[in-house]
């Protein structure tokens, strides 16, 4: 009842661990797979090793968290070992998230990752590296198109493109990446960014000063973005942002998602969240008479 196909890859259930969450090591991803995720995502991979931002990288706010981890990576070479190790440990499909400072970087990393994961996910929307990398590629149709075209010209593995909600018209960006050859869209990356200032020290808490917002409070923004993207494109959508319960997942699916990412929800419900969301989603579907996820995808439209 819960199984789906995402860009040709069969997932036993529609829950996916979102990029950047418990995705540093193969053993950690395998544990999430054992906990019931339908697919796992290897934390964004860059060309060369990178430390990311200093601590604090995360701070809680009403309705969620701000984070600015800053894309730490062991680099693509060592990640290939980690992906190999994951494949040894688990049969659950793995998505390799990756990023670049330039379109050339994206192409280079994609070339090395091609065939080493079930799906690729181009992270063109990290909000926390603006001072180094400039405005994210997902902020303009032209930049997004250039990156996606480059990747599709070199890598055969199906490609998801992760978009930012922090744009005036996400549908327009989605159309651009679909036209450039993307096989699916992941929406959304974190919102904002936001800032928390400590009153006693009179300083921003995060070392990066700002951080992207995630958690239950961003869910309505995710639902609206998925809805807009569904109107704009034909390719499948993975809804990510604030999903904490099975009913949250159903809402994203009704907006147009065929799979859902879970991340910050782990802070509230632990790693068991995957089994909980699956159970709650199944209960909801039974109650409402849905026989499969497909029947629910985009049902809120028209």
């Amino acid at each position: 009842m819960l199984s789906i196909k995402l860009c040709g890859v069969r997932l036993e259930n529609p829950t996916i661990i979102a990029s950047g969450i418990l995705g540093v090591t193969a053993a950690s991803l395998a544990r999430v797979a054992r906990a019931g995720a339908g697919a796992v995502t290897k934390k964004s991979i860059g060309l060369k090793p990178r430390e990311g931002h200093d601590n604090p990288v995360m701070v809680e706010v009403t309705g969620g968290y701000l984070n600015a981890i800053g894309l730490p990576t062991v680099g693509v070479e060592d990640t290939l070992q980690e992906l190999k190790e994951y494949k040894r440990l688990s049969k659950v499909p793995v998505i390799a998230s990756f990023y670049g400072a330039t379109a050339d970087d994206f192409r280079e990393v994609a070339k090395r990752l091609d065939g080493k994961a079930d799906l690729l996910e181009a992270n063109i929307s990290c909000p926390n590296v603006r001072s180094e990398f400039g405005l994210s590629f997902s902020a303009s149709c032209e930049d997004a198109r250039e990156v996606v075209k480059g990747i599709k010209g070199i890598a055969k593995t199906p490609l998801l493109v992760k978009l930012s909600p922090n744009v005036p018209d996400i549908g327009e960006i989605a159309r651009a990446v679909e036209k450039a050859g993307a096989d699916g869209i992941t929406a959304i990356n974190t919102v904002g960014p936001g800032m928390v200032i400590d009153l006693k020290t009179r300083k921003p808490v995060l070392a990066n000063k700002t951080g992207g917002m995630s958690g239950p409070a961003v869910k309505p923004i995710m639902v609206r973005c998925v809805y807009d993207i569904y109107e704009a494109v034909k390719i499948p959508i993975v809804g990510v942002g604030g999903i904490t319960t099975g009913e949250d997942a159903a809402e994203a699916i009704m907006a147009g998602a065929c799979a859902v990412g879970i991340g910050t929800g782990i802070a509230y419900r632990g790693i068991e969240i995957f089994n909980l969301v699956k159970k709650e989603l199944a209960v909801f579907m039974k109650k409402e008479g849905f026989k499969g996820i497909d029947e629910m995808v985009g049902i809120a439209h028209g």
Binding site: G20, I21, L22, G23, V24, T25, A27, S28, L29, A30, R31, V32, K43, P49, R50, E51, G52, D54, N55, P56, V57, M58, V59, E60, V61, Y65, N67, I69, P72, T73, V74, G75, D78, V196, D198, K200, T201, K203, V205, A207, G263, T264, I266, A267, G270, I271
Partner: protein
């Protein structure tokens, strides 16, 4: 809320060369073995075990890098942030007779136990030399076997070397250990050989501290030091990365 609460430093007392105990103007109702994330603005945020819990909690630490250097320079009245307590703490359910093996400031997360329940415990406490046995005074009348690497006090050996004799001389329900990784690995090996339950408090590079980011996940089961730990049983650590490697800020494997 997982957000630093900023409080005043009550004291930051020198214990020995490079070792201080900081006392905080807070009330942290933690169980023994739990940790907090300390925050110094513009410097960073790092995990520290509490050597005293409850009102005016204490942290005993040695200087290692940029953060502990800054912590070392804090004076009475200065501000510092903390969030937590986090982690699981020692599990002493049904454990009546306890042996502790600690090296250097590794005794810190065990001090709340020792101070609350001196009778149950036998402590093996080692350091490089006599001066670095900073908890000696507080241990008072507990049953303690002291060891030093240079023989300047107690037995002239490593703390883990004294465990075999202790286990042979009495019946214990569990061994608790914290200190240098090589020492803990030896303690775990000895316990495994003797089929003795054992718990070890681990240290890994931590970022979020709340079990989300995955930076401190250890091989081979993907257990998170910040959330599933920092204290693990010998079964959880079987064939683990302990003593072999640890990951740095990028996620690369390095010597522990």
């Amino acid at each position: 809320m997982d957000k630093p609460q900023v409080i005043k430093v009550l004291d930051n007392k020198l214990e020995a060369a490079g070792i201080k105990t900081i006392k905080l103007d807070a009330d942290i109702g933690a169980s023994a073995g739990q940790f907090v994330m300390l925050w110094i603005p513009d410097i960073g945020e790092k995990p520290f075990s509490l050597s005293k819990v409850g009102k005016n909690p204490e942290i005993t630490y040695d200087v290692k890098g940029k953060f502990t250097k800054a912590l070392f320079s804090l004076k009475k009245g200065d501000l510092v942030g903390f969030r937590g307590p986090y982690g699981n703490g020692w599990n002493l359910k049904g454990k009546k007779k306890i042996a502790i093996v600690a090296g250097g400031v590794g005794l810190a997360p065990l001090m709340p136990l020792i101070e609350s329940d001196k009778d149950k415990l036998t402590v093996i406490y080692g350091a490089k030399n006599k001066e670095l046995l900073v908890f000696k005074k507080k241990l008072g009348k507990s049953k303690v076997v002291y060891t030093t690497d240079d023989g300047s006090f107690g037995k002239h050996c490593y703390a883990c070397d004294a465990l075999g004799g202790i286990l042979a001389g009495g019946k214990y329900d569990v061994v608790l250990t914290c200190g240098p990784e090589i020492m803990m690995k030896k303690v775990l090996d000895i316990c495994m050989k003797n089929k003795m339950p054992c718990q070890a408090s681990l240290e890994r590079y931590m970022k979020c501290g709340i079990g989300i980011c995955g930076s401190c996940a250890i091989d081979q089961f993907g257990l998170r030091v910040c959330k599933d730990g920092p204290i693990f049983t010998v079964e959880q650590l079987k064939n683990s990365e302990l003593g072999k490697y640890a990951r740095d800020k990028t996620g690369s494997k390095k010597k522990p």
